[in-house]
């Protein structure tokens, strides 16, 4: 047993962090929210060049995967930087498309970043269906290439654009979808949420160290400290669940990771908002990019209730 990221994985996280810090991600997020995808697509290409999407694509289709642990590492960084777009859905699509014909046709472009995918269960919202090049609809009968989408509906997270996919379309694979693809969706959402929580905590700690009232930093008050200590605790116990789930890919572990990471991220959001005070309640202040995403990710790819039910069902 060596339940530790290796040097290469830590370096990968570090390089993504550096890339996303230098890229000025918040500006791309705000443009994306307005339906201007150019900056976000440029960022997407750079993430593809760094190998992020290839981690979900098998080697025979010009990928490096599937490598769930490396994907989890990457998605923590994507969450920390609030990267917009159907990130989870693109790696899920890569895991859903198995048949050699469609795989050969669609996967190399997903790995290279030239094409962006969205995925939804039949009748559910697909993220960013308006810009996706590949729209997959997943039902009990199989995976279909959806012919189009309904108008965009706003999400509480302005960077998430919700669309319902039109029924019908080319059948890419008959029969129920491979469970590991849907587990990957849940795992990467959990990792992304963990990253969102880490960013919220980091920004809030920075804020309470700078902000003074009554002549001292507000971060010296015990009521403030203890809320932040609780936020750190929730994240530090969600992190090993996320990485452990990536190692085992067992349904109960993935469900546990999802519910814990999303609860932790949401608790961090509430704490971040409260400790920033009124400035945190403004859309203009960048904290809002993470505050709203923490809420949205809770219900994406498995509500807390569904995840808890899966934990109980697997325990038997």
């Amino acid at each position: 047993m060596r339940f530790l990221l290796d040097a290469e994985q830590r370096a990968f996280a570090g390089s993504l962090d550096a890339l996303l810090t230098a890229a000025g991600t918040p500006k791309a997020v705000r443009e994306w929210s307005r339906g201007d995808h150019a900056g976000g697509r440029a960022l997407w290409s750079r993430l593809a060049d760094a190998g992020v999407f290839a981690l979900a694509v098998p080697e025979e289709y010009e990928g490096l995967g599937p490598r769930p642990v490396d994907l989890a590492v990457a998605f923590v960084e994507l969450g920390r930087h609030a990267v917009p777009g159907p990130l989870v859905e693109t790696v899920t699509a890569a895991a859903l498309i198995r048949a050699p014909g469609p795989a050969k046709r669609l996967l190399p472009a997903l790995a290279a970043g030239g094409s962006v995918a969205t995925v939804a269960y039949e009748g559910a919202y697909a993220l960013d269906g308006d810009l996706a090049d590949v729209r997959l609809s997943v039902g009990p009968g199989g995976v279909r290439l959806a012919p189009g989408h309904d108008p965009v509906r706003p999400s509480l997270d302005p960077a998430r654009r919700l669309t319902r996919l039109r029924p019908g379309g080319e059948l890419l694979a008959a029969g129920p979808p491979p469970p590991e693809a849907l587990l990957l969706a849940r795992l990467t959402t959990a990792a992304q949420a963990l990253g969102v929580g880490l960013a919220l905590l980091e920004r809030t700690v920075g804020y309470v160290r700078r902000r003074t009232q009554f002549g001292v930093a507000v971060g010296s008050f015990q009521a403030v400290k203890h809320r932040l200590a609780d936020a750190r605790m929730a994240l530090e116990f969600a992190r090993p669940l996320v990485l452990g789930a990536a190692v085992t890919m067992a349904p109960a572990d993935v469900a546990a990771a999802k519910v814990s990471a999303c609860e932790a991220a949401y608790a961090c959001a509430r704490t971040a908002l409260q400790l920033h005070g009124a400035i945190g309640y403004t859309q203009e202040y960048d904290l809002s990019l993470w505050l709203t995403k923490a809420r949205a990710l809770r219900t994406a790819w498995g509500t807390p209730q569904e995840c808890r039910a899966d934990v109980l069902a697997a325990h038997g």
Partner: protein, 379 residues
Amino acid sequence: MDLALTREEEAFRAEARAWLDAHVPAVAPPSLETAEGFAAHRAWEAELAADGWSVVDWPARYGGRECGLIRWLLFEEEYYAAGAPGRVNQNGIGLLGPTLLEHGTEEQRARVLPPMARGATVWAQAWSEPEAGSDLASLRARAVRTAGGWLLSGQKTWSSRAAFADRAFGLFRSDPDAPQPHQGLTYVMFDLRAPGVTVRPIGRLDGKPAFAELFLDEVFVPDEDVIGAPGQGWRIAMSTAANERGLTLRSPGRFLASADRLYGLWRAQGSPPESAARVADALVGARAHQLFTYAAASRFLAGERLGPESSLNKVFWSEYDIALHETALDLLGEDGERADTEWAERYVFSLAGPIYAGTNEIQRDIVAERLLGLPKGRR
């Protein structure tokens, strides 16, 4: 990055499980916080030790198997999964033992550890005083130099297990003129039956004498029972306090077994949906604690020292433990009020968790100041 066990580790786990299957008493002994239960638990320690299972991670010459951290964690998982009795000598084997292994002399280890390992000497802690709780460094009980040793005087309190234990260990002020409160403290071991010691048991919330007050009046302690150099007690105590809060006080095995029992209770009560989320959270929390501990153990084995993150761990498991037992009592319905169930005993025990080994308020201060880098403020 992996969670795989070697074939040797799997074999060790199987050997532990087989021994426990054959030896764990079918009927649990009475509460270890009673005279009768204390004796039964002491006998159980001897039974464990006879086959080398009481202190599996210790060096062989003191009664262990030198099995290493990972196998110790596996042993703990098997131990609690088997429903084996609580460890009456936890203070000794989990706290004083590691302190002696790190800071004791060879003579002290050879003399103290083997009888500790077989439960012949059961240890109590003597840290808190009536005026020194969270602010432990303000303690006032004295150690005064005398020929060949020290004379201890003063009062200790909340001394866990002291009602029935044989010996105790703790900090005493040996240099009242030291410039800082945490300087001039000395770490000593003493006999609870020595002349000058008065033990007054204290009933915990359910009335059982789980701890005691100690009144010390010029109790002689020979030099050989001082651990480390006189005046260095604080540093020594803190180096093993991280152990207590962190890896070794509450192993994941305990909570995995508790969560599994809770799940069984929930099923037996007809899987009431209104409790499903709390039961699921107990399962999730136990797995989180297990994986958190595996990660910490992996870092430790890679040569890192574990620091203030042990404070996160202590807050997590102590609050987790209470929530789990509250869920169990709620599931029991009107029987949740009964005092004579195993759940009730464990519930009462869990309530102390956020208070001992450094209150959770102190732990949150440590997390905020040392992990998050927030400024010190008024407490």
